[in-house]
């Protein structure tokens, strides 16, 4: 569980219980059978939205084909009753298992894609299944009645029982979603959604977490589909695998609020009764009014409140009053690493990387000794960030090697390099603006594989190291630029790295801000951290770095002590031009 998750979870579950109770009381008053059906359908579609939210809301992997799982659940339950006389109670469980398996089968190839290719491909699956089913003759399948044993076959004369079951399923599903939200699972998904690259650099195995989220999502969706089939009694391929079904999950969640478990509930509570009622009243004159309403709803939301109703309302009227209490956890004690002077920690040999015909990095060799701060400088376009990307596993190297204490770094995936003990910051800081600073930082600890308890302790220590301990509970969106940079640094530190790769940490900072960040970095060196930093702010680097490596056009131009390097004529020429040098020497 994340820090503060315990009490948060209790609060949310209580809210959930209250809502459920209120809803069930409402249910007791409704007599009209059509409205009773609507009361059952609202939690059904809400749960479907909750399942979609886990994959596409938390994880950001937009899927247009959730009907695959819904339909699998529906058909499993139906066919199980028809062919094996299997009770729908068991059929739903069976559907859940099949949904999970389908998720693995679908996810394995499809997660190799991203963005709109992923969304469109997910669309193809339910439609392919739909066509196959139509071909196989399952045009319309109905669940037969079993009057001899009604309860076992989920047959109740009182329609309200179905609403009760629906609410129970919803409560269970929301509880699962809340647990995910409050655990490292949710944080990992959020990190992947924010910036998959940075998440990987923090040690998160994106592929694995995405698959997990799809499996959970698929299983819940299959359960909903199975129950839905039982309620409707008659299913057709289109009614459970069709486009409108997939759209329903998307619309309900986006409208209500994406990436929050309350969003689909709000969305379903508003849209489902609206659409169903309009369909009933006006359906004869305006067939398809339901689809039009859904279309208008999501266009409206996308243009006016892109995060959905929940977030818009919360941001506007329920802004958190102040910082949440600071974690009352002792910071992890890590003894200062003894620095073995002169022992190289990172040895880079002959690394090259070309794009097309252009050699961005060309035969670069240098080494970093333990406890040293190495400044990597050079004119624009010299290949500095490309070098870091190669070291970090973001890009592959064409040739050369890089060893961290003797272990080969190149050729590994980004999150593996992080686990080896390499922390990386990026030029553009992407935080979770609504989450507290501690949550932003703890991602780095999770990525390094620390347990929940150790992770909190490590995050607290990291915040202390950068001087942000007083801001631990503040929402990251309220931090200043300098504080954001320090937070990013803390995230890298939370994973307890041996080597830090920092990319332009000081860019755009004013004089004083620069100074305070420099103090932090010097402090890290004192505790045995080894740092490799790319920077343009030369006057700062002169004070901070022990040595420089100068890159120009992808090659190493010079290495050595800062004073010596900046007096070196080839370096001056690279920065200021040959003519300048000639004039000075004339």
């Amino acid at each position: 569980m994340r820090y503060g998750a315990g009490p948060q979870l209790k609060r949310d579950l209580t809210r959930l219980a209250v809502l459920a109770a209120a809803y069930l009381m409402l249910m007791l008053f409704v007599k009209n059978s059509y409205y009773q059906l609507i009361l059952t359908l609202v939690p059904v579609w809400a749960l479907f939205g909750v399942s979609w939210n886990i994959l596409s809301g938390y994880g950001g992997q937009l899927s247009f084909g959730h009907a695959s799982f819904f339909g699998i659940g529906a058909y499993t339950v139906t066919l199980a009753v028809v062919y094996w006389s299997l009770s729908p109670w068991l059929g739903i469980v069976l559907g859940m298992v099949l949904g999970g398996l389908a998720a693995v089968a679908i996810g394995t190839p499809t997660f190799r894609l991203r963005g709109h290719y992923f969304a469109l491909s997910m669309l193809a699956y339910p439609l392919a299944i739909l066509y196959v089913l139509q071909y196989l003759g399952f045009q319309e399948v109905s669940i037969p009645m079993h009057r001899d044993n009604p309860v076992a076959f989920m047959e109740f004369s009182e329609p309200r029982i179905y609403t009760l079951i629906a609410v129970c399923l919803l409560v269970a599903g929301v509880a699962v979603s809340l647990i995910i939200e409050n655990s490292r699972f949710g944080l990992a998904l959020l990190a992947i959604r924010q910036n998959e690259l940075a998440a990987e650099a923090a040690g998160i195995n994106a592929r694995l977490w995405k698959m997990r989220s799809l499996v959970v999502s698929g299983m819940i969706a299959a359960v909903v589909g199975g129950f839905y089939a039982r309620v409707l009694l008659v299913i057709t391929p289109d009614s459970v695998f069709g486009m409108l079904v997939s759209a329903q999950a998307v619309v309900v969640t986006l409208f209500g609020g994406v990436a929050s478990v309350w969003g689909p509930l709000i969305g379903a509570a508003i849209l489902v009764p609206l659409a169903e009622t309009l369909q009933a009243e006006l359906g004869t004159y305006l067939p398809g009014i339901q689809g039009v309403i859904y279309g208008l709803a999501i266009i409206g939301i996308m243009l006016l409140a892109p995060d959905g109703l929940f977030w818009t309302i919360r941001d506007r009227w329920f802004r958190p009053k102040g910082a949440a209490p600071i974690p009352d956890v002792a910071p992890m004690t890590v003894a200062s690493r003894p620095v073995r002077a002169g022992v190289p920690l990172l040895v880079v040999e002959n690394v090259s990387r070309a794009f097309g015909g252009l050699k961005a990095v060309s035969e670069v060799s240098f080494s970093v000794t333990e406890g040293e701060i190495l400044g990597i400088i050079g004119p624009n376009g010299a290949g500095k960030t490309t070098l870091f990307n190669v070291l970090n596993g973001v890009l592959s190297a064409d040739e050369g090697s890089a060893q961290l204490s003797g272990q080969q770094m190149l050729g590994r995936k980004t999150f593996e390099v992080c686990r080896m003990g390499v922390g990386r910051t990026f030029q553009v800081v992407r935080s979770f603006p609504r989450l507290p600073v501690i949550d932003n930082v703890i991602v780095g600890a999770y990525g390094a594989g620390l347990s929940d308890r150790d992770a909190i302790a490590s995050a607290v220590r990291a915040l202390r190291q950068v001087g942000l301990q007083d801001q631990s509970g503040m929402a990251a969106g309220q931090l200043t630029n300098k504080q954001l940079r320090l937070m990013e640094l803390a995230r890298a530190l939370a994973g307890n790295p041996r080597l830090l790769l920092l990319d332009e940490t000081l860019a755009g900072l004013g004089r004083e801000e620069c100074d305070s960040v420099l103090t932090v970095l010097a402090g890290l060196r004192e505790h045995g951290m080894t740092i490799c930093i790319i920077e343009h702010t030369m006057h700062a680097m002169m004070r901070l770095a022990d040595r420089f490596v100068v890159l120009d056009h992808g090659r190493v131009l010079a290495t050595g002590l800062p004073r010596a390097v900046v007096e070196d004529s080839s370096v001056i020429e690279a920065y200021l031009g040959k003519k300048w040098l000639a004039r000075q020497n004339a």
Partner: protein
């Protein structure tokens, strides 16, 4: 199987593949302009196809506006006349809805605005489909032409094997090629076409040249919509359709564009042609319902195995 019958079936599949494939090619060019060139993911492209069909239908039969042209010319002229109507519609959609989630506004963001585009165009798709059901009704209609029942006979070739060239499809094929050629010439040789290509290539530099990129995108979107609509109008002469027909063709269009390679309009045409071929050939071995499933499988395979298609640059892969 009797060799003669096999040859006849294959030859007919080839001719059908070429004729229908070129119409698909035209349809894909429309999406290629929008998806490949503007990088807008338009989920509602199938509905633009559908609008083209209904526009042609009402021009020719409903409103009798083109009735004077008779049943031989009418349907094809109707298809072409659908273009300006859908052009305007598409441009309006872009101006009020899509420009907010695409173009310079979202260039450089992490997903280039695709999330917003998918959602907004999903909404447009839902509204057009279901709205279409309200306005047009759900009874399938078609743009009748007696040509759809007549065919040229070529042959006999190879024994008794005869090739049937359906007249309506043949004329549609010719019109499709003509429209594609006109579009190609416009893009290659006119100032407007070059401005469109420049805006697609590098919108920032295009702005520096004095080109108003937002307007260029609007024109491109309208053009892409209009082209697909013409293809729809042509298809209306040999299939019957309802407001939900667009959906069957979205995946065909995306398959064609992805197969041909992102950013390549010519590629989109070849992609559409290839997909048409696959569909007609699969008709030899697969029953009708599975033909569409086969297209989906092809789409998935392309996207997984060779997302850059035959002509394009690399796509988004994990």
């Amino acid at each position: 199987m009797d060799l003669e019958i096999l040859v006849e079936n294959v030859l007919n599949a080839v001719t059908a593949g070429i004729t229908i494939g070129c119409i698909y090619g035209l349809m894909c060019i429309g999406l290629g302009l929008i998806f490949g060139v503007m990088r807008i993911v338009n989920f509602a492209q199938g509905e633009l196809l559908m609008l083209g069909m209904f526009a042609s239908f009402y021009l020719v039969t409903g409103g009798k506006a083109l009735a004077f042209l008779g049943p031989y010319w009418g349907p094809f002229v109707g298809a072409i006349c659908a273009a300006p109507i859908v052009f305007v519609g598409g441009a309006l959609l872009h101006k009020f809805l899509l420009s907010r989630v695409s173009g310079l506004r979202t260039a450089g963001t992490l997903d280039e605005g695709h999330f917003g585009q998918l959602i907004v165009t999903l909404g447009i798709s839902l509204i057009l489909q279901n709205g279409g059901q309200i306005v047009f009704g759900s009874t399938p209609v078609a743009v009748r032409t007696p040509l759809s029942a007549e065919a040229f006979l070529i042959g006999p070739v190879y024994g008794g094997a005869t090739v049937f060239l359906n007249k309506a499809k043949l004329i549609a094929f010719v019109v499709a090629i003509l429209v594609a050629v006109v579009l190609y010439m416009t893009l290659e040789y006119t100032r407007l076409g070059k401005a469109l290509r420049a805006s697609a290539d590098n919108p920032t530099a295009a702005t520096y040249m004095g080109i108003e990129v937002d307007r260029a995108y609007r024109v491109a979107f309208g053009l892409g919509a209009a082209i697909t609509a013409v293809a729809g109008g042509l298809m209306a002469t040999y299939i019957s359709f309802g407001p939900f027909v667009g959906f069957d063709y979205v995946i065909i269009m995306y398959s064609g564009v992805v197969l041909g390679g992102m950013g390549s309009i010519l590629g989109a045409f070849w992609g559409g042609l290839t997909v048409g071929f696959v569909q007609q050939f699969s008709a030899l071995i697969l029953p009708p319902q599975l033909q569409n499933a086969a297209i989906f499988v092809v789409f998935l395979m392309i996207v997984l195995l060779r997302p850059q298609g035959l002509f394009g640059r690399s796509a988004e892969r994990a």
